[in-house]
Symmetry: C2
Subunit: 662 residues, 2 copies
Amino acid sequence: MNNIDEMSVNAIRVLSADAIQKAKSGHPGLPLGAAPAAYELWSRHMNHNPANPKWENRDRFILSGGHGSMLLYSLLHLFGYGNLSIDDIKNFRQLDSLTPGHPEYGHTVGIEATTGPLGQGMAMAVGMAMAEAHLSAVFNKEGYPVVDHYTYVLGGDGCMMEGISSECFSLAGTLGLNKLIVLYDSNNISIEGSTDIAFTEDVMKRFEAFGFQTIEVKDGNDLAAIGAAIEEAKADKERPSLIKIDTLIGFGCPAKQGKASAHGEPLGEENVAALKENIGWPCKGDFEVPQEVYDNYKKIAQERGAAEDKWNKLFDEYCEKFPEMKEKWDKYYNGYDLTDLFESEEYWVKPEKAEATRSTSGALLNLIKQHMPNLVGGSADLAPSNKTNMKDAGDFSKENYAGSNFHFGVREQAMTAITNGIALHGGLRPFAATFFVFSDYTKPMARLSSLMKLPVTYIFTHDSIGVGEDGPTHEPIEQLAAFRSLPNFTVFRPCDRTETAAAWMYAIKSESTPTGLVLTRQNLPQIEGSSKEALKGGYIIDNSTKAEPDAIIIASGSEVSLAIEAKKLLAGDGIDVRVVSMPSMELFEEQSDEYKNSVLPLSCRKRVAVEALSDFGWYRYVGLDGKVVSMKGFGASGPANELFKKFGFTAENVAAAVKDVM
Amino acid sequence: MNNIDEMSVNAIRVLSADAIQKAKSGHPGLPLGAAPAAYELWSRHMNHNPANPKWENRDRFILSGGHGSMLLYSLLHLFGYGNLSIDDIKNFRQLDSLTPGHPEYGHTVGIEATTGPLGQGMAMAVGMAMAEAHLSAVFNKEGYPVVDHYTYVLGGDGCMMEGISSECFSLAGTLGLNKLIVLYDSNNISIEGSTDIAFTEDVMKRFEAFGFQTIEVKDGNDLAAIGAAIEEAKADKERPSLIKIDTLIGFGCPAKQGKASAHGEPLGEENVAALKENIGWPCKGDFEVPQEVYDNYKKIAQERGAAEDKWNKLFDEYCEKFPEMKEKWDKYYNGYDLTDLFESEEYWVKPEKAEATRSTSGALLNLIKQHMPNLVGGSADLAPSNKTNMKDAGDFSKENYAGSNFHFGVREQAMTAITNGIALHGGLRPFAATFFVFSDYTKPMARLSSLMKLPVTYIFTHDSIGVGEDGPTHEPIEQLAAFRSLPNFTVFRPCDRTETAAAWMYAIKSESTPTGLVLTRQNLPQIEGSSKEALKGGYIIDNSTKAEPDAIIIASGSEVSLAIEAKKLLAGDGIDVRVVSMPSMELFEEQSDEYKNSVLPLSCRKRVAVEALSDFGWYRYVGLDGKVVSMKGFGASGPANELFKKFGFTAENVAAAVKDVM
């Protein structure tokens, strides 16, 4: 590499080492080792414009090894993204800085995705590549490739060990996502030592098995070789690519390079000095970068950014020539307005027949899709059961990227992270689906949906012992508690069609909160008192006669009708009961104290909650004097109606619980 | 295949079809397609004794595709395991039957593991193979291979799509587990249709990349070919083996074979009849099997079972020759008695110095290991951080199966299922470890620990915003709620060394409940009032002066010292506070009402709970009138002490909350 390139690469190393040293915390290994690859990619191959990080046709870059965040912050600073200043770099890992320990989407300009949990960035990249493929199929016209960009993701051995990487790359290979390029920082080191201890597989062969093109760069410091590999990767129009780059973790620091201790602790003052001397760094003080390096990056930023000008011209012509596509583009990227649909009678029709809420959901999904063409998504191989097939919307595949129905295979983790990636990309509104009991698999990725404030939709069906014969491995018990306790995630467990319609409306209108729709396998009756008040999370669905009820029964979903039956029984005993439907605790908690008190007056302590899952979390609403009719342990295998009886979900039992508290 | 073999294979098909049809529920595809492979394995290659399903040196068999349970039940019935009768078969999927929808360990004799969630059986098999390797290294002597058995696991495309399969097989290949044999029922069908939709990878090549021997059987009905493949697999002394068996899902049923609809719904009465006719089944009525078939299975059972007689002779000689090994064997398989240790002063020593509970845990783990040689386990690449390295206990590897320290790599899902597999195998007491925030990854497998009543130990460190600079992706918030709501799982969040010692004692003495130890990264002071009372889950750690306190503060772990500080502040205001430490809600709930009332008297409603994670679940103890000082959202990146302040975990704030409720 020539001198200015060498210094520009080393600027990344030096800033990273200094920042981590000052914070006395951080991971220097990846930044030091992968700096050349990142520099080569960002300066000579990636289409991006630091002056406009939101340019829709930019190439995407994800740092899947999120602990290597200083690599990314150094690049953002040097390239001039969002004016990330040297003070911001000095504030690495300090409270309220723009440079938190792991990159946070929405917090620091230029970060495409929050990463940290290894492997998730890889799958989010697959999602971004899927979004690009779909949008190109929808929008591009002959001579007007307005959607045409690559997705690059960089990660290490840790990401490759995580199962999610096999899930997402097996799918990526099947889908022929040729604009996905994976840079594998291969340094044979993980926290516990050499990867020989636990990870001797032939990674390149694994990727060949997935249908990737595989390229190896034997010297991770050789910019020309890295550049050639990237171009070779881009040239393959059929397959995604893996570029394995052999690096030395902590390169440049004599005492640390190649060792596990280079991974996740500051180098130490002496070692930082040794690093700078070893690589011939010209500056004396910490955080000092030669002006010529800044100038070089500025020049490069302008060169890379010119791609946007070129694209703007193309896009302007496209909009002139295809005004209807321009209109569609705006809707895709800014959102469809479904106000008319959500105010229509068709949407809120209250049928007579009992219906499983998963079936209602399927019908609503299809209705919404008609008004919202950019709704896309799928299930982890359970579409017929989840009722998530969108009719006449096509199946997304290598032959038909315009299809809206995604087939993820039995890969819940990848499905969820891909869904995040699609949302991050922009232009599409994605959903994911599986059995509620398998929501456990989606949880680490759903957590990132919440952290990143992505309004993605999760469809979780088969929500209780209503599962029946499949038995305890398939019957959710604690999954409601798991998602209700997750910040910025709204769980909605509707009791009938009306509440399901409210749930979908909430999910679609949400701007920054993911939603989990928890739906039944079995038929539920339509409840007379159900209404849009469900959007308040909890409301009176069947009121007491008196202003102050003798007792309150709170229920959600399949247990609401049970609560109403119990109320009738108790009326026979002269007990005047109010039934409250609480499809969403989170939405209820957002209401005013006044409203909450009107539904659940503090004066009334005789309360029973009933839900056919765990009682964990219900005591907030029944207090020290109330009771919860719930599952006390796991379910069982047998016909559903027998299970509900066996586990005490009968009107008699609920009525008895009310009498107990009185 | 000869006629009696053919009929014996078809008996499996017919019983499966009849049982599923009668239940009007179930999955016929796998049983029909994989019956030949299962029959060949169980009748001519597997060492097992239906008369003694607990024989320690039996080969293990796991049906990872647990939905195909009728395959397993048919085999168990025909081979005579546990007298599983024809009536039990007829009761398939009925409440309280011995043939629930998915196989349940501990419920039906002969089931080695509960399966259902795809892929987990694969990883449990790896765990069993690891256990076998370790125990052979510990016990075998020249000429006395007393531990010498194979682990077979059968699953399909779904299992292969799940990320956990790549995790566990990558590790298996690295470890050279040559006695692991994977039978891959390859029928190219999943629920949503042909696997072409989402799964076109070259599975054989993926396994080659992992270091497996790979063998293909092109005709899944060819018993001789299957048999030859199994023998070839067994002959490889260096590598685990994958046998890919090409089958037709739903084989034998003309209308259904090869179709997705053969997977998970009853064939239908007409199709069952067509199946029987198509395969030439001689019996007219449902559930009828010719006596010659029963006789054949009985003969085979005796032949296979003779292997145990042979082993008994060998084992008797071994015990005579090596009486100290016999003693050790009994301890390994029946359990070490640690009473002396748990009553010793050394174990309960109360130091002066503050210490992170993860460090205390590491010391106790090492102490326990000295008294319990069959304690084994490891971390998902975080052993130095989790403090789980057992000194001088060796590292388990291909070169040293006698090592007790397992290196799982960054593979939380596989680690957890492997840990279950090791526990299921018998002879070893395993633990697993990772960062508490990544417990999300372990959850689907920990759920099976609970379902199967396995007393495995989970070490979860870095349990709150005490994580500090790594930031919100690494700071647990909702993970306590997730595990507290899981039935038959005990969470223990100790506040100091004494409580950590109590936690470990509980975990080791547990017979049927998995334990999660939730430990700090940061130092915690030793609390004067802490004691073994912690085993009650909640106890008075710093009592009020008056018999009836003015207010009660409940806390766990790192917040106990904070609660005590707040109590001191409030004393200055004349408010007499009782501080309750509640390291384990589950254990508290097991106590008598009398005890619980003595700690948290219903008469005292002025209660504040404080925990540096989500408040979800605490209202059970503070009721409608109490408050919880907790995290309201995600954490942040910054030094830990600044985070605790920022998020309100100060004595002043807790005291203010108490005043609020008064």
